[in-house]
Symmetry: C2
Subunit: 122 residues, 2 copies
């Protein structure tokens, strides 16, 4: 098995994602998945150093601290890495809403049938 | 707000990810996050059509049905989309192990300190 899968060294694989890894934020209490974004090396290191989630915005091409302007910070309780270290899972305490629409989670719609979505009760 | 965020039409945004969206599989019962991968349009449509998770492998550059060789299928109970429709969340019933290492989840290690990982009890 590749060393990355068995190692206890942090060795994130940024190569497959053009310098980025996937980053999932999950509510540490309810286990609800709140959002999915990306991190570059700088965002990961800033998250480790501060204890607050930082991501990399593909559209703005820049680092952002989640909640920096809205106040909707994510305090990180635990960080997990997946087998091949190209994804991190953050267990967070979310202040306010994770979604910029004001909802607790970004996943507020589900597929109802192959053509349409329906809103999910919060 | 952009139409994609309020619409009840499925309109996945494959543009930011070079034809891919992120895809998270979460255990429908325990709410454990099992894995994170990617889908192209074909993988999403195959998932909708069959009720079993299909992904796109960036390394092999091909569609794969999860569990096709291992038998570790993911039966999809619900599909959610995020606000800007560049990520889908699958609530699944996992047969066997989600991770190719034989573990239920790919997230079997957590960051212990800024330099190292530790294995998590399953």
């Amino acid at each position: 098995m590749p060393q990355r899968e068995t190692s206890t060294a942090i060795d994130l694989d940024f190569s497959k994602g053009n310098g980025l890894v996937s980053a999932i934020a999950q509510d540490a209490g309810s286990k609800e998945v709140l959002m999915c974004a990306f991190m570059n090396k700088e965002a990961f290191e800033a998250t480790l150093a501060t204890g607050y989630a930082h991501y990399y915005s593909r559209s703005r091409k820049s680092l952002w601290k989640k909640g920096e302007t809205s106040g909707h910070l994510q305090q990180v309780r635990e960080i997990r890495v997946d087998c091949d270290q190209d994804c991190v899972l953050l267990l967070v305490e979310q202040t306010g809403a994770a979604c910029h629409t004001g909802r607790h989670s970004c996943f507020y719609r589900r597929v109802r049938n192959p053509e349409s979505l329906e809103y999910v009760e919060d």
